[in-house]
Amino acid sequence: MTLDKISELLNADMLWTGNTRGIDIQVAKASDLMSDVLTFSGPGKLLITGLTNKHTIHTCEIAGIQAIIFVRGKKPSAEMIELGKKNKIFLFASNLSMFETCGILYTNGIKGVQIHQKNT
């Protein structure tokens, strides 16, 4: 699914404007705990979170996550947005709850991540 489609489904604002062509999101994970996020294996993921500090961006950079949806009306700081831009991590903000966000994406074909497999 394209990031434009995800943004449309969630009525989410894109927080910095960049070229999202070629990004195809198939799987996502939702968490406010960053070590949980690092159990992601493989690239090309979407994170759904309400955590708005710069460790969220660092964690996604480390894990190779391409986009973040901030939920519950949370807005990252200008510094976070700059950090996302620098690392080409696309940032979106939605007023929906985490539960609603996950439900909408899941019913539209986005799957969860297999978190218990060995990273190989």
């Binding site: 968490s31 705990l33 960053m34 159990t39 460790h55 660092h58 964690t59 950079e61 480390i62 190989t120």
Partner: protein
């Protein structure tokens, strides 16, 4: 070993420095990418490094993180001076955490730090002395060099 080392660097880590926490691991990740290391290996090293770095920031007074890249492997040695881990077996259990409320509010303390390091390492050893500190040694083999 030293003769075929293509990159090595030692980073200092300050306990409690949440402002700069994680930046050393992000720098390592970029360096490994620039060295042309395979993306999946870079990701595994970065995750192990980041978790280890955050553990020092959260639980120790100070520490060092040494990286060595050779044609056959990447090694990370993290030493800290701090309270140590009284029960390593328990600390290795997924979900076990002694994080404070403040750490959890910042997104840490899922109890997945050490399990994530082990999961991403090919070889992982940990030793700790109560009241002195902890040493982690992490090895990730480069492709075709599994032993």
């Amino acid at each position: 070993m030293a003769s075929d080392t293509s990159f090595q660097h030692t980073y200092s880590i300050k306990g409690g420095d949440f402002i700069n926490a994680g930046e050393s691991s992000c720098e390592v990740r970029n360096t490994l990418k620039n060295l042309g290391i395979e993306p999946n290996i870079v990701r595994r090293v970065a995750i192990a490094s980041y978790e280890a770095e955050m553990n020092v920031v959260m639980y120790a007074n100070e520490g060092t993180m040494r990286f060595m890249v050779t044609p056959r492997e990447i090694r990370i040695i993290v030493r800290d001076s701090g309270q140590g881990i009284p029960n390593i077996k328990r600390a290795m259990q997924p979900g076990f955490s002694t994080a404070t409320k403040e750490m959890r509010e910042m997104g840490f303390g899922a109890g997945m730090g050490l399990p994530n390091i082990k999961k991403n390492a090919d070889v992982f050893t940990i030793s700790s002395t109560k009241g002195k500190g902890t040493v982690l040694e992490i090895t990730i083999f480069l492709n075709n060099h599994h032993e």
